[in-house]
C-alpha cells in the first residue's frame, strides 16, 4: 500500500457549471476503519465533497487517490469499482421494490455469485432488519429503516470507503440514534466511513476524526472528541440549537 489512507482528496477545486467554485483547495484523508466526519452549515459544500469523491462531479483541479491508486477524473461506475460506495442525501431506496431487491441491486456490479452470497450473509448479520423484512416493499418501511436498507445496499460491493450524506436527515431522535449506531457498526466491521452531517454535535459523538468545512476548505481538523470539547468551536460551528435539516431539499 502506497499510503496510510484509503481515500485522499488533495487540493480539490470544484463547482457547478459557470457558477463560483464551491470547493477551494479542500484536502480530506480517510484512514482505514475510521469514521471521518465532515461538518459544516447548510450549503457549505458537504454534499459536493462526496459527489467529487464518488465521481458524480469531476473536480477542476486536485487529486483523488483510492488506496494508493490515482482515480482523478474517473466516472461513478469506475469509482464504485475502485471501492467507493455513495449513500445519497435524502431517501434513495427504490420504494416500489422489496428490501431484498434493493439490497441485491447494490451488488449489481459484482459478477461472482459466491461473492454476492457472502456479502449478503455479512450484510444481514450487520443489519438484522434486512433479513427480517426481506420481502417487504422498501417504501413501506419507516425513514430510519429505509436508511438501514441503503446502508446494507452500499455495503454489498465490499467498499473500501462508504460515503454517507446526512444519514440522519429527516429522522426523529430515536431513529437518529439507531442510524448512528449502525454507522459505528459498519466501522467496527472494518469499513472506513466518510460521514457528512449538518447535525454536527450528534455526528461527532460517533466519529473518530472531525473536520469543519467552511468557505470551501477544511478549517479545523482533529480527533472528534477534541472538536466537541472545544468551547469556541462549539459556539462558532456546532450551534447552540439544532438546525432544521428536514426542510432542506436535495440539489439536482
Amino acid at each position: 500500500m502506497a499510503s496510510d489512507y484509503l481515500l485522499e482528496l488533495t487540493d480539490i477545486e470544484a463547482g457547478y457549471g459557470r457558477a463560483a467554485l464551491v470547493l477551494r483547495g479542500l484536502t480530506v484523508q480517510v484512514p482505514p476503519a475510521q469514521i471521518v466526519c465532515l461538518v459544516g452549515p447548510n450549503g457549505a459544500g458537504k454534499s459536493t465533497v462526496l459527489k467529487v469523491a464518488s465521481g458524480m462531479l469531476v473536480p477542476r483541479s486536485g487529486r483523488i487517490v483510492v488506496d494508493g491508486a490515482d482515480v482523478t477524473g474517473k466516472g461513478p461506475q469506475q469509482l464504485l469499482r475502485a471501492g467507493l460506495s455513495h449513500v445519497l442525501q435524502g431517501h434513495s431506496v427504490f420504494k416500489e421494490m422489496t428490501v431484498g431487491e434493493n439490497v441485491n441491486l447494490g451488488a449489481f456490479s459484482v459478477r461472482d455469485p459466491r461473492h454476492v452470497a457472502e456479502r449478503l450473509d455479512f450484510v444481514k448479520s450487520l443489519f438484522p432488519l434486512v433479513a427480517d423484512r426481506w420481502d417487504a416493499l422498501a417504501g413501506a418501511l419507516s425513514g430510519g429503516q429505509q436508511k438501514q436498507v441503503e446502508f446494507a445496499r452500499s455495503l454489498m460491493v465490499d467498499p473500501k470507503v462508504v460515503l454517507l450524506d446526512e444519514p440522519s436527515m429527516g429522522l426523529d431522535p430515536k431513529a437518529t440514534a439507531i442510524i448512528f449506531e449502525q454507522v459505528v457498526r459498519m466501522r467496527d466491521a472494518g469499513t472506513a466511513v466518510l460521514l457528512v452531517e449538518q447535525n454536527a454535535r450528534r455526528a461527532l459523538e460517533s466519529a473518530d476524526v472531525g473536520l469543519v468545512l467552511d468557505l470551501g476548505r477544511v478549517h479545523i481538523s482533529g480527533p472528534a472528541r477534541q472538536l466537541l470539547d472545544d468551547p469556541k468551536l462549539g459556539e462558532l460551528y456546532l450551534g447552540g440549537r439544532p438546525r432544521t435539516s428536514a426542510t432542506e431539499r436535495q440539489p439536482s
Binding site: 434513495s92 431487491e101 449478503l120 419507516s142 439507531i178 449506531e181 467496527d188 459523538e205 460517533s206 473518530d208
Partner: protein, 365 residues
C-alpha cells in the same frame, strides 16, 4: 438473484395461512381464465364470435409485447404499431416476393424488425418523457408514408393480400380455430418470457431504471444497454403479433397497419390492466378489445367507440393509475392482518445493542 431459501424462511408480513389463501385465489383465477380461454372454441360460438376471439387474443399479444418496454422501463411508446405493421408487411412480402414458407416468414420478419429496432431504440431511448412519446409517434407516421408511397413493393393504398398458410381445404371456421390457438400459443410464450425477465437480474436492473434512472446508474447498472435490449425484445414480440395477425386476416392496408390508434390501444389496454403485472395487459386487452368489437357491432363503423375509449382512458388515469390488477392486489392485501405493521425495535433490544457497541470499542459512541 432472488434467493429461494430466503423468500421461504422469512415470511415478512401477515399470517402464513392468509398469505396462502391469497396466493390460492390468485392461482385459481389464472387457472380458471386459462381453462376458459382454451375451451371457448369448443363451446360452438360460431364463426363471427370466433373471429372476435381471435381479434381479442391478437390485442392481448400486442399489448403484452408492448409491455416489455412499457412495464419494465416505464417508457410509454405510442408508436408500437410501427412494429406490428412492419411485422405484418414483412411476412406478406417475404411470402409473396421471396417465396419463403409462411411460418418461416413469420419468424424471419420478427427478427428483421428486431434488427431494425436497434437504431430506432438507439435514437429514441436517449430522451425521456414527452420527447420519447413524440419520437415514437413520428415513427408510425414515417412508416405510414413509406408504405403508402412505395406502392411498387407494398401495394400502396390498395393494400397487400397475404396468402393464407393453410390450404383452401381448411374452411373458414376451422381457420379461425387454428389461429385462435396459435395466438394462445404466442401469448403463452410472451408471458413466460416476461415472467422470466421479471425474476431475473436483468429485470431487477430494468425496474430500478423505471423508478429512478440516475440512481440505477449510480449502482453500476448499464441503463442504456438495458433499455435498448428490452426495447428490441419488445419489438420482436410485437412484430410476431403483427405477423400472425396478417397471416390470419390475409389483407393489409397501410392506414390500418400504421395507425396511431392501434398504438394507443396497446397503451390503453396495458394501463387499464396494469403495466406492472404479468397478466395486466392481456386483461386490459380482453376488456378494451371486447368493448371495441361490441361498439362496432352495435353502431357500425362510427367514431363513437373512440369517444368511449378516450373517456375510459381518462377514467383509468384519474382513478386507477396503476391499473386493475394492482388495485385488486391492494384490495386483497388489506385482508392481511398485519400487512402494514412495521417491526420497531424495543427499548430493551436497543439497550442490548448499545451495550454490545460500547463494549466493543471502548466508548467511542
Amino acid at each position: 438473484m432472488r434467493n429461494a431459501s430466503d423468500t421461504a424462511t422469512t415470511s415478512a408480513s401477515g399470517s402464513p395461512t392468509v398469505v396462502r389463501v391469497i396466493r390460492g385465489v390468485q392461482v385459481l383465477a389464472v387457472v380458471a381464465a386459462a381453462i376458459g380461454v382454451l375451451v371457448f372454441p369448443q363451446t360452438g360460438p360460431g364463426p363471427f364470435i370466433m373471429s372476435v376471439g381471435v381479434v381479442i387474443l391478437s390485442y392481448a399479444c400486442m399489448a403484452t409485447g408492448w409491455n416489455f418496454v412499457g412495464g419494465f422501463t416505464g417508457y410509454i411508446s405510442l408508436g408500437h404499431a410501427a412494429f406490428t405493421g412492419l411485422g405484418g408487411y414483412l411476412v406478406g412480402l417475404l411470402i409473396l416476393r421471396a417465396d419463403v414458407p409462411s411460418w418461416i416468414a413469420l419468424v424471419l420478419a420478427a427478427v428483421i424488425v428486431a434488427v431494425l429496432s436497434i437504431p430506432i431504440g438507439f435514437a429514441s431511448l436517449r430522451v425521456r418523457g414527452a420527447s420519447f412519446v413524440i419520437m415514437s409517434l413520428a415513427l408510425v407516421l414515417i412508416m405510414l408514408l413509406i408504405f403508402q408511397s412505395w406502392s411498387d413493393v407494398t401495394g400502396g393504398s390498395n393494400g397487400l393480400r397475404v396468402p393464407r398458410p393453410f390450404g383452401p381445404e381448411v374452411l373458414r371456421p376451422e381457420q379461425h380455430e387454428r389461429f385462435y390457438y396459435l395466438h394462445v400459443l404466442l401469448l403463452v410464450i410472451m408471458l413466460v418470457a416476461w415472467w422470466a425477465i421479471d425474476r431475473s437480474r436483468f429485470g431487477a436492473g430494468l425496474k430500478a431504471i423505471r423508478e429512478d434512472e440516475d440512481k440505477a446508474q449510480s449502482l453500476g447498472i448499464p441503463t442504456f444497454g438495458y433499455k435498448l435490449s428490452v426495447y428490441v425484445i419488445s419489438a420482436f414480440f410485437t412484430a410476431l403479433a403483427g405477423g400472425l395477425y396478417a397471416l390470419w386476416f390475409g389483407f393489409l392496408d397501410p392506414i390500418f397497419q400504421f395507425s396511431i390508434l392501434t398504438g394507443s390501444y396497446m397503451v390503453l389496454m396495458s394501463l387499464l390492466g396494469g403495466i406492472r403485472s404479468l397478466f395486466g395487459p392481456a386483461l386490459g386487452a380482453a376488456i378494451v378489445g371486447y368493448a371495441i368489437e361490441f361498439f362496432k357491432a352495435q353502431y357500425g363503423d362510427t367514431q363513437f367507440h373512440l369517444v368511449a375509449l378516450g373517456l375510459l382512458l381518462g377514467l383509468v388515469v384519474l382513478f386507477m393509475p396503476e391499473g386493475i390488477l394492482p388495485s385488486l392486489g391492494r384490495l386483497l392485501d388489506r385482508l392481511r392482518p398485519s400487512a402494514t405493521s412495521i417491526r420497531e425495535e424495543s427499548a430493551e433490544e436497543l439497550a442490548n445493542k448499545r451495550a454490545v457497541l460500547v463494549g466493543d470499542n471502548g466508548g467511542a459512541s
